[in-house]
Symmetry: C2
Subunit: 499 residues, 2 copies
């Protein structure tokens, strides 16, 4: 038994399959398309949760696999459930743990479920459709996800077909095992990199009475072209009357592309993880606050942003915090990045409603290009800066530097252009290949620097769903995010020698 | 030229030399006795500064030595001064850098000043009364401190006498070099562990027209008995019409003892540093939130506390955050600890005004004993718990566990007693000796666990003024707090293996 999560389409885009809508949950209404910040282990990292609403979050993510291990769902329930535990009254979606388990190398998969040893203490654990449902119901999330098998993108056709069929049988078991009336349950469409199998999985999963449908197994290292090809194969056949959720995506350019295919929900660790490495998202492009050019920069990160960080602090102050390794820098950057993703989705919704989504999508692609040659960045920047003009922005705080809108735009143009270009050239080298030439210690050394999401396998703070190389690397100690100690390291920005 | 910081005594304690008063600064009135949180490098660590007022901070500290190195006072001035840089409108006191410089091993001291190489990049630096004044005036703090020489506590009489006399000559030079009309300037009394020299320094310094007088060179590893002996030699001779500031102190028991001698101002890194290690201060005693017994504890840290952390989170949640190494734990613990110190000083002021300070002091000593035998802990706990009774505390938030005052007190009694005792026995071993038996790597491994303040040399986040062993250990790389990287490590709680 599940709680229907009624989804109502509000506006359909005329030039793409984008749509706005509302998803009604027991804890409130979610305006879609929506981006969901990730709080894998019961905390959005470095963020006191009272900021969630201020940054525009409407619903957040947590993870079954991680919370089952620590602190355990029984304890969370005893403490009043996941919302009280984390001190948020926002709706929470829990991922099923399927992705995390399948990113471990040592596991035994059978029709029944998956056995594995927990990487921190070797504790033997068994997860199945039934146990995953039980855990998620005990945690008390608003939306539970079906327990699925998620394959690496290079899996062959036959393996993928068998997996798709098992995921479908598991989906039925999930529905049967789900008994909590106030929790919604979403199914997950798989199918690897095969359009035929994507459609096969879609037919299987959407024939079952889930409250919403997710697309899994993408953004796992296959690259944006393949991902978009798979979305194109799948999305036209998705039911229109239920919410559609693209798991583990993504970068700003992926979000607008996903929206254009009709996706309503996204989640990704990019804004939080990159913040801790000093990579900051703005409507002028992405900046690395650790760069020497920000040392003396008295402007806020983004003069058009209303977040606590931009209202109160200069780029120079953030640069200083990262330079001295002060964790306050992580918190302030996280607040800003989440606000950027919140604002981006608000702009997406508004643009669908007023018929300008295609133009917005183009601008986002110009600011966050796959390849620099795509161009148009300057024009896009000007448009976002002009967006901020009509309302004469009042000074938000005594401590805010003087930022008349004119100064803002000039500054934006002057200081962003050249380095951003240099950066995007660097990061758009075919990342997997470039990286695979490096030794693992080298890669590890590069890790905390807030790299490109796709390289980063940035979907989850746990074993990387977003990471093609995961199975080959993981064994019983997934590379990232998983253990407190390793996470602690990740959150420390790279130390820079001062010039 | 300095800005007078008019100090008015409000109430004199009848049984001790304690007093309440007000210190008038350009940025507002400070109620004394006051505890000043430390933001050495321009940030109270792990604390978004909008929380400063909520935790009861009235004035905060920053450091000349650190800010001179990074990001440099000229840049801070260009960015609008220290207050705008840090985004706080609270008054700021800057320490002169004297203590930090003298904790370095490689330095050349002359009548003129001190030369040294900055420990991070080897940059040659010269600090003197004149340069320290210039830096502090450029930073734009509300209270500047005179540039003094601070000796290790084991220095001999003759060395200390010469140092005291030079500090007096430097004090005159500071007054002459100080030209900023809106900044107050405090002198610092030194004199090592010699009562005669303390009085000599006091006569020299208080004969000069400073706006307030500080006592330096204590809490540097000499132990509470010697410190109290030196205070007893000095305080009766301090001018009564100006604010008196005991630098680098301290623990709750040191605060009430200092107040009893007539001290008006304190600063210490204990609340912030210990928070990052999971050592949490309450009116039931100090707890280690990393202890297994808090794993399932649904109560807030302190049921009588009104801070954001206690209003929203359980001990079990904080325990979980420290267990997974999530920095949000540092932030939440910092908020609580600073609020505890703020509340403690508010209680101290109220008790002086209503004639009950001696009783409060006794209770604090019972909860934070030098030796467990002192006893009375249970009675003191009950009194603080009863303090919270008259007002039936309304639930502060939906997420707060049910904490009827009865349950609270029972819980407090039940869960605190035995482990606290065990802990205090452990920590009251003569700390320096116990520690010196260990190798440096062993000590390093123990560092992040929020050790006893006195052992920790916890006065400053930079080279430890509070640390007797500092000169022997420091060389050009002070042990703690100084480099971003090392600080990053400190803030990561020790990883625990789950049982």
């Amino acid at each position: 038994m599940t709680a229907p999560a009624p989804f109502k389409v509000k506006t359909l885009c005329r030039s793409t399959a984008a749509r706005t809508g509302t998803l009604q949950l027991a804890r409130g209404q979610v305006q879609t398309p929506v981006f969901m910040p990730v709080g894998t282990q019961g905390a959005v990292r470095a963020l006191p949760p009272h900021w969630l609403r201020e940054v525009g979050a409407q619903i957040i993510l947590a993870n079954t696999y991680h919370l089952h291990q620590r602190p355990g769902e029984a304890l969370v329930e005893r403490l009043g459930g996941l919302h009280r535990f984390m001190a948020t009254d926002l709706p929470i979606l829990t991922d099923s743990g399927g992705f995390q388990v399948f990113s471990l190398r040592k596991k035994e998969i059978s029709e029944e479920g998956v056995s594995f040893a927990y990487e921190l203490d070797g504790k033997k654990t068994f997860l199945s459709p039934e146990t995953s449902m039980a855990i998620q119901q005990t945690l008390g999330s608003d939306i539970a996800m079906a327990f699925d098998e998620c394959l690496p993108p290079e899996s062959d056709f036959e393996t993928t077909r068998r997996s798709v069929d098992m995921t479908a049988r598991w989906a039925e078991r999930c529905l049967k095992a789900h008994t909590k009336p106030e929790q919604s349950l979403f199914g997950i469409v798989q199918g690897g990199m095969y359009g035929e199998l994507r459609r096969r999985s879609l037919a299987q999963i959407t024939s079952l009475p889930f409250d919403g449908y997710a697309i899994g197994g993408l953004s796992v290292g296959e690259g944006p072209e393949k991902m978009n090809a798979m979305l194109a194969e799948t999305m036209p056949h998705m039911p229109t009357d239920k919410a559609r959720y693209l798991m583990g995506v993504g970068r700003p350019q992926d979000l607008v592309d996903g929206v254009a295919t009709g996706i309503d929900m996204f989640d990704c660790v990019i804004p939080t993880r990159h913040a801790r490495g000093g990579a900051i998202y703005t409507f002028q492009g992405r900046i690395r606050i650790t760069h020497a050019k920000y040392r003396r920069d008295s402007y806020p990160i983004d003069t058009a942003c209303e977040c606590y960080t931009c209202r109160n602090f200069s780029r120079a102050y953030l640069h200083h915090l990262f330079e001295i390794g002060e964790v306050l820098g992580s918190t302030l950057a996280t607040i800003h990045n989440l606000r950027f993703f919140g604002d981006l989705m608000a702009k997406v919704r508004a643009s669908i409603d007023d018929g300008t989504f295609a133009a917005l999508r183009k601008d986002i692609h110009a600011l966050y290009p796959e390849k620099e040659e795509e161009g148009g960045k300057e024009e896009a920047r000007r448009r976002f800066a002009e967006d901020a003009l009509p309302v004469e922005k009042p000074s938000k705080s005594d401590t805010r530097p003087d930022t008349s809108s004119k100064a803002v735009r000039t500054e934006g143009r002057r200081s962003e252009v050249r380095p951003e270009r240099a950066e995007s050239r660097r990061s758009e080298v075919r990342p997997e290949r470039a990286e695979s030439r490096r030794s693992e210690p080298e890669r590890a050394a590069r890790r905390p620097e807030g790299r490109d999401a796709r390289r980063d396998g940035a979907r989850n703070e746990g074993p990387g769903r977003g990471d093609k190389r995961a199975p080959a690397r993981r064994e019983d100690k997934p590379r990232e995010g998983h253990s407190g100690r390793r996470d602690g390291k990740d959150s420390r920005p790279t130390k820079k020698v001062r010039r």
